[in-house]
């Protein structure tokens, strides 16, 4: 049942995201290496979240949102031709700033939601996939006795790991994390960070974060965004020790942002 983790390539080419006529992300080209974590950092309003939302075509759902340029997933431009964004989003998992468990569903149903909408699998297969996802999200031991209970009874940190489980249950190719620890306490944050490092063995992960220490802890590569532009992209260790661009250094040392 469990597919071996395959290498999936993701790349943006001169990607520009706009609201109406205002560009908030400007001509950004990044190639994400398979099974790595890439962190997007930068001050509020720099376009890093918008950039992330272009990768699974969520940006176009915002009022006035549209893009130019390319997002190439496994050799295919996701904005080209008749690719259905709904189908695309099943190939790319996403976790948001605040935990968003579906309140009317049980823990089990929450994790199974993405599988069911795909419409395949017997009950036994679904149950297996749910357990797998919960185990990978390091939540199984805490919830295995109460899978039928409401998801809203979980703590904030548990809810966020539930959302991770929900996102990875359909075996996506890429995992997008949009400030996943912004609403969590230090304990919850640590679990998510550990999870991030754990999950990169299977997925290509892109994480947006406000927390520079977090970027340093979990990511292999870091992209520094400022005013919608990509200022610097590099190996995290190098960038945090000796950034090439002056602006990056100023941000990393807290002189602005």
């Amino acid at each position: 049942m469990t597919k071996p983790a395959a290498d999936h390539s993701l790349e943006t080419v001169r990607l520009t995201a706009l609201y109406g006529r205002r560009a908030v992300v400007k001509e950004i080209s990044i190639r994400f290496a398979p099974r790595t974590v890439t962190a997007m950092i930068g001050p509020s309003g720099c376009g890093k979240s918008t950039y992330l939302r272009c990768l699974n075509r969520m940006h176009e759902l915002s009022e006035g949102g549209w893009v130019t340029g390319k997002v190439v997933l496994d050799g295919q431009d996701i904005y080209e031709g008749d690719l259905d964004p709904v189908v695309l989003r099943r190939r790319i998992g996403m976790v948001f700033q605040r935990p968003t468990p579906f309140p009317m569903m049980s823990i089990f149903e929450n994790v199974a939601a993405g599988l069911r909408v795909n419409g395949h699998g017997s009950h036994a297969e679904t149950a297996h996939a749910v357990e797998q996802a919960l185990r990978r999200a390091a939540l199984w031991d805490e919830v295995k006795d109460r899978l039928k209970r409401s998801a809203t009874a979980l703590s904030g940190g548990q809810q966020q790991r539930l959302c991770v489980a929900r996102a990875i249950a359909p075996e996506p190719e890429v995992l997008l994390l949009d400030e996943p620890t912004a609403a969590l306490d230090p304990g919850g944050t640590q679990r998510i960070e550990e999870l991030c490092i754990e999950l990169k063995q299977r997925y290509t992960i892109v994480i947006v974060t406000h927390n520079m220490q977090q970027a340093a802890r979990v990511s292999d590569f870091t992209a520094f965004f400022y005013l919608g532009e990509l200022v610097e992209l590099g190996v995290t260790k190098e960038m945090f020790t000796k950034p090439k661009v002056a602006r990056t250094e100023e941000y990393l040392t807290g002189r602005f942002g």
Binding site: N56, M58, L61, V86, V87, R89, R90, G93, M94, F96, R98, T100, F102, P103, M104, A113, G114, V117, N118, C163, R166, A167, P170
Partner: protein, 278 residues
């Protein structure tokens, strides 16, 4: 305490008192109605009242079984037609209704909401009773449904709008199509609120009389056929209360008490459904 503080305390106390008094006044109306109904109607509530049909004028011992069953049938019919339309329209308004069409639907619903119920009765008479050639429970049910739809639509819209946007995004990011997001995530999350709105809507139409006067008409006999005239509690109250006999007045009070009880039960159910939400 200096003078200003004393003044502040005084004004605060005064305002609280005024507001409390006004609230009491608002509740007083309901208590007076209920007390009145119980005093004048409760003594007529026996088994016969519920299981017997009306007897000819002058005789005693009749009941309003036909009206009780008729009310249930016509209100049920109205709910059958009105709830799906109202909930659907409300869902549309909340989820897709930001454009021009949404504005139009919302405007129409608000106007319809303020339309006198007797006008809706005339409308049902023109479009259903006249073409069919006779009065019917069906026409009455449709008239009540028309009355109900805008109420249900607007409350459903409000309840659905309360669902956080982040849940919609989470579902969409998971690969839910838009319609499925609306139905199985958003509507499901707002369910308790929608149910509450429906119960309040049903309670609101259960006692309507004007739209039924020239649609369901009323019926002295027991009837369950929706294509024939049918009696309801409200029509029964109207004809008995305006009649000349003491016995009829007695039964009218009792029927009013039963109708009021029905509305109270629906209102209480709505409260409970709402509490389930939290």
């Amino acid at each position: 305490m200096n003078l200003r503080q004393i003044r502040r305390h005084f004004v605060s106390g005064l305002m609280t008192g005024v507001v409390a008094l006004l609230s009491a006044l608002a509740c007083l109306a309901l208590f007076l109605i209920l007390a009145n109904l119980v005093i004048k109607g409760a003594s007529s509530l026996d088994l016969n009242f519920f299981i017997k049909d009306p007897v000819p004028a002058g005789q005693t011992g009749g009941g309003v079984a036909n009206a009780i069953v008729g009310t249930l049938i016509i209100v049920g019919l109205a709910a059958l037609v009105g709830l799906p339309v109202g909930i659907g329209a409300g869902l549309y308004l909340a989820e897709y209704g930001n454009g021009r069409l949404g504005w139009v639907v919302r405007f129409v619903a608000d106007v319809l909401n303020g339309t006198p119920s007797i006008v809706i009765g005339v409308f049902a008479w023109t479009w259903l009773v006249k073409p069919m050639g006779h009065f019917s429970a069906l026409a009455g049910g449709v008239a009540l449904a028309v009355l109900m739809v805008p109420m249900i639509a607007r409350t459903t819209e409000e309840m659905v709008r309360l669902v956080p946007h982040s849940l919609r995004e989470a579902a969409l990011a998971l690969g839910y199509p838009r319609w499925r997001t609306s139905l199985s995530i958003v509507a499901r999350t707002a369910l308790a609120g929608i149910v509450t709105g429906c119960l309040v809507g049903i309670a609101r139409i259960a006692g309507e009389t004007a739209p039924l006067l020239f649609t369901a008409l009323g019926n002295l006999n027991f009837s369950t056929s929706v294509l024939e005239p049918m009696q309801t509690l409200s029509l029964q109250i109207f004809s008995y209360a305006t009649g000349p006999f003491e016995e009829w007045h007695r039964l009218a009070w009792a029927a009013a008490l039963v109708l009021m009880g029905l509305v109270l039960v629906l209102g209480a159910a709505a409260r409970i459904a709402m509490r389930q939400r939290q």
